[in-house]
């Protein structure tokens, strides 16, 4: 009996995968567990392994092709058996059965449906303000909804438990205290993916983070001026930075690169990923060809991508192909941080908040200025400090005098 190899569901948000390089060709002998083809999804690069021993008989999807989850990718069989190809995606019941077995059942208490935590808008607002993870709370509202009362009760309990005596650290350093009231919550696929990718990046790419403080008075003025004239979209600082970074990368192509085993790819296209925080994790939709787009187009695109990211409606290729990433934590009152590179990209720019500070100007006077801290993490395998600093300096230059961009 031939075995159909189908596109696996590798994450909650995954609806399709893109076929990468074929590692085995038709006619090759494969063993169970052998990787046969590379795939990329919205969040990660992976491989499909053969489920059986046999011969790769038919390749049903070509490199670059998008295949829906459970769509047919290949057929493995014996060397001489007759193969019939059924490209239909298996019926819904079959898929959901698998899902239920793998994901829904263990999480049923907190996630009654589709992995979503039911909480009232007010409860969500309060929890987010107090930094409480809703997943740790059991809802008492209608249909198990977490309501305001539940969040407040949880907070009270936590405070109580924190004021209890803490066991001596020396006794058992590896010991994780587990109380009855604690909630054990399996990692979601999204958290698993984020965890895996962040660990890989931190582990494989030697990170260096450099920071600089920028006077953004002129950028603020530019933004106000543009927003005054243009009521259609409101430019954010992120939008402006996407354009500035893209312009800078055009000038310093060595920072618009990826590393792959023993070679570096210098990308022709400049595609800027914009980190968007979702309730369940982080996602990085990509603004393609950002250097060729204007502020307005970028702003519209970023808003559209972010909005659809929040609704889980992004297309696969809107999440892939990034060559550089920006992460703006300014809204959260963060000054500076050490962002982790979104591999295989070579660098990421962390953006801090804008804050008024006294600075000394050219005339040695102390004057107020709006300052922002930029943190650039780069992969030391690709670039050295001098090159990265050059990029940072260029972006800084644009922020301090946006007219520079057009030179």
């Amino acid at each position: 009996m031939a075995t159909e190899i189908r596109m696996p569901q590798l994450g909650l948000t995954m609806t399709e995968g893109v076929i990468g390089a074929w590692l085995k060709q038709e006619g090759d002998t494969v063993k169970k567990g052998d990787p046969i083809v590379q795939i990329t999804t919205d969040k990660l690069n992976s491989e499909i392994e053969s489920e059986v021993d046999g011969v790769l008989r038919v390749i049903c999807a070509q490199e670059g092709e998008e295949i829906p989850v459970q769509g047919l990718v290949a057929i493995v069989g014996t060397a001489d058996e007759e193969i019939t190809i059924d490209t239909d995606t298996p019926k819904e019941e079959a898929t959901s059965n698998v899902e239920e077995k793998e994901e829904i059942i263990p999480q049923i208490q907190e996630k009654p449906k589709g992995g979503r935590i039911k909480a009232s808008p007010l409860a969500k607002k309060i929890a987010s303000k107090k930094g409480i993870d809703l997943a740790k709370i059991t809802g008492t509202g209608h249909g198990g909804r977490i309501v305001q009362k539940d969040v407040l009760a949880y907070e009270e309990n936590v405070v109580e438990s924190q004021t209890q005596e803490i066991p001596e650290a020396s006794e058992a350093p590896a010991y994780i205290p587990k109380e009855d009231a604690d909630i054990i919550k399996p990692l979601t696929n999204m958290r698993k993916v984020i965890g895996k990718r962040m660990t890989e990046s931190k582990h494989n790419a030697p990170h260096v983070t450099i920071t600089t403080e920028v006077n953004v008075d002129k950028t603020i003025a530019l933004r106000s001026k543009l927003n005054e004239k243009n009521t259609e979209v409101r430019l954010s600082y992120t939008d402006i930075l996407v354009k500035m970074i893209a312009t800078a990368l055009r000038n310093i192509p060595m920072m618009n690169t990826s590393i792959e085993e023993d070679h570096i790819i210098i990308h022709d296209k400049i595609n800027i990923g914009v980190a968007v925080a979702l309730e369940e994790g982080l996602i990085v939709p990509v603004v393609k060809d950002a250097d060729r787009k204007g502020f307005k187009a970028i702003s519209k695109e970023v808003k559209d991508l972010a909005a659809r990211a929040k609704e889980n409606n992004l297309l696969g290729d809107e999440l892939t192909g990034g060559t550089f990433t920006i992460s703006n934590l300014g809204n959260y009152d963060v000054d500076a941080f050490t962002p982790i590179i979104n591999l295989p990209e070579s660098a990421i720019l962390g953006v801090g908040r804008i804050v008024k500070k006294p600075i000394v100007n050219e005339n040695d006077e102390i004057v107020p200025a709006s300052m922002m801290t930029l943190s650039l993490s780069f992969d030391h395998r690709i670039a050295d400090g001098a090159l990265a600093a050059e990029l940072l300096k260029m972006i800084k230059g644009y922020l301090e005098d946006p007219d520079q961009m057009y030179l």
Partner: protein, 327 residues
Amino acid sequence: MRTLSTSKAIREALHEEMQRDENVIVVGEDLGKMGNPFGITLGFLDEFGPNRVIETPICESGFTGMAVGAAMRGVRPVVELMYVDFIGVAMDPVMNQAAKMRYMTGGQVNIPMVVRAPMGAGRRNAGQHSQCLETLFTNIPGLKVVAPSTAADAKGLLKASIRDEDPVIFLEHKLLYAAKGEIPEGEHIIPIGEADVKREGKDVTIITWSRQVFFALEAAKELEKDGIDVEVIDLRSLVPLDWETIKKSVSKTHNVVVVQEGNKRSGFAGEISSQIMEELFDELDSPVERVAGLNVVPPFSPPLEDAFFPNPNDIVKAVKKAVNFKL
């Protein structure tokens, strides 16, 4: 303070305004010797004469349209529909003439006209004499819509409506005509567009108007026994809407029940619910509940009619659902 029935309070408002301003006239059926079926204009014909008390033939379209023409000339007609249900034959002058005239003429013309109309179920008047139709009017730009509950509110709001430069639909609940309430002495005017918190509470807000205000207050008393502290907002005016009062209350209680007597589908309760969802989403601790009449024709037979429109018990149930109250 004096105690008056709501019908007497309405009569007093009309009487005071007719005495104050000779441009105020009343127009409608049976306003003369009969003084209207509820005694609202009793004695007016003798006092103000046939030029101010226009007792019309039975032709709602004709006399409502006529009132629009008079209003364009600066008269302040108070038109009476014997039942709001009769708007069916007088909709064009209200919807296409009175409501639109100012806008269509670029602000040249005002229509300072009031359409008073008794509404509501509970008198076994069956399908064509028992409806609450505020939704028809709130959907029409250019109309103001008022629906008071108490005698004092009815008086104060009718006076404000007569003095208003815009067409005002003034909805009176038939079952409230006999309800008595205290009326402040002297000039008593309540501006259109101000809601009234009829009961303060901290757990849940009931937003309603007209007769259902009393039902909501009854329900609140019942809910008190279970320790649920209910706030009751009497909107009094539906257009313009007193959003500030709604916002303040919802931001305090975080749970909302909107109650209307008229049938549920496409009702004004749905409109309020939507606005709260759009603008106060993060304040909500439960979905906004609606309590409303069934989507049926008002029936005649008492047990059927009683099942048709909401009663205090329906409100109690909805509030308990909103706060997820369990015994």
